[in-house]
């Protein structure tokens, strides 16, 4: 139960990596979570599924480059300091 801020950062990096790895064509479309499923419905009630799909797509678009940087930094630090 000894959570530290460092473990929170680790959790955040791992979760963001997990979301970024979901491939659009090979996986998300196959289970019905592709882009075309999320955008529908122009009313003012997007629904939970559309919000989740939007979130996944935006995380993948926005966090791609920062994740490369952060992951490289993590790898270097872990190699140097164990």
């Amino acid at each position: 139960m000894a959570f530290t801020l460092y473990s929170l950062i680790q959790t955040a990096i791992l979760c963001t990596n997990a979301v970024a790895v979901l491939h659009e064509e090979r996986f998300l479309s196959k289970i019905g979570w592709g882009v075309e499923h999320g955008v529908g419905g122009f009313g003012d009630d997007p629904g939970v599924k559309a919000q989740v799909l939007n979130l996944i797509r935006s995380v993948r678009t926005v966090m791609r480059v920062p994740l490369i940087i952060v992951n490289t930094a993590c790898i270097v630090l872990l190699l140097l300091f164990g």
Partner: protein, 308 residues
């Protein structure tokens, strides 16, 4: 609506004579005068300086030989202008990262408010009006409204919780100074995760609410009061007292959160208690209930290992 508007208008009129006495020019960012400006430096200091002329003059006479030298005068003027420039730069840059002016609102409390709010956290059953009163589109400072969220009680509660946890561990001979840091960071991490989870669920359910992140932080921090009461009761009177007081505080926090969040998250009709059908309102109701139900769970989770 009219009643609250006239009430806040009345309070505003009572505020203004105080403001006019302190400074003739009002600071633009501090428009609603959350705090009385008791510092000697600042925009409105001219009137204050004129009032205090009698004091420094006696001190100035003895040091006059030092101050009359023109070179040191120049040096002092240059130094003070450098210092004020540096301070402005720091203020401007700091304001970009941490919204200090917004944070100030949450700490504008006084003893009466803290007393009433603590009573409300432990016994919310008699309170009737849970609406936050507004003053021309901005919420009134917590000093004037019991229902407004503040950050003072959560911050103090968190620190007190860490100290009480150290005390509890010390009575069981399990204490070491690192454990204080472990407890503090552990509770802090749980708080951050709870706020992030609530933010995520608010995004997913597309609730149009004026709850800011700091408001959510404040609401999540109110549970520390109940935790402290439970742990102290357990230390003084043993395990049954711990369970009883924790049960009471859990129920109180549950009711408090539901009544507070009901007005902010649910639509108008549902907030008044009428049954409104529709999946969206149902989702919002579930969201409110789960946020309120998470509080007792966290309260038990963070304190049960302290009472053996």
């Amino acid at each position: 609506m009219d009643y609250t508007a006239s009430q806040s208008g009345f309070r505003q009129r009572k505020l203004q004579p105080n403001m006019r006495q302190r400074n003739s020019t009002m600071d633009g960012s501090d428009g609603s005068q959350l705090f009385e400006d008791t510092s000697g430096v600042g925009l409105g200091a001219q009137t204050g300086y004129r009032n205090q002329m009698a004091g420094p003059q006696a001190a100035g006479l003895t040091g006059q030989s030092l101050l009359s030298d023109p070179m040191s005068n120049l040096a002092m003027a240059y130094g003070s202008s450098l210092a004020s420039q540096g301070r402005e730069m720091v203020d401007k840059n700091l304001d970009r990262f941490i919204p200090i002016s917004k944070l100030k609102y949450y700490f504008a409390v006084d003893t009466v408010y803290v007393g009433k709010k603590l009573g409300l956290l432990v016994f919310p059953y008699m309170h009737e009006n849970w609406e936050v009163s507004y003053q021309q589109d901005t919420p009134v400072a917590p000093r004037f409204d019991v229902n407004a969220p503040d950050l003072y009680i959560p911050a103090m509660g968190f620190i007190t919780y860490v100290l009480v946890a150290g005390l509890a561990l010390g009575t069981q001979d399990r204490f070491s100074p690192e454990l204080l840091g472990v407890q503090a960071s552990s509770a802090f991490v749980w708080l951050i995760m709870e706020v992030l989870a609530v933010l995520l669920s608010l995004y997913l359910v597309t609730v149009n609410t004026d709850l800011t992140t700091i408001d959510l932080l404040a609401f999540s921090g109110y549970k520390y009061v109940g935790m402290i009461v439970g742990v102290v009761a357990g230390l003084l009177f043993g395990r049954p007292a711990y369970y009883l007081s924790l049960l009471w505080c859990c129920a109180a926090i549950f009711v408090f959160m539901i009544r507070t969040l009901r007005l902010k998250l649910l639509s108008e009709a549902a907030a008044e208690g009428r049954l409104v059908r529709g999946t969206r309102n149902q989702l919002r109701m579930y969201l409110t209930m789960s946020i309120a139900a998470a509080q007792p769970i966290f309260m038990y989770w963070l304190t049960y290992h302290l009472i053996r």
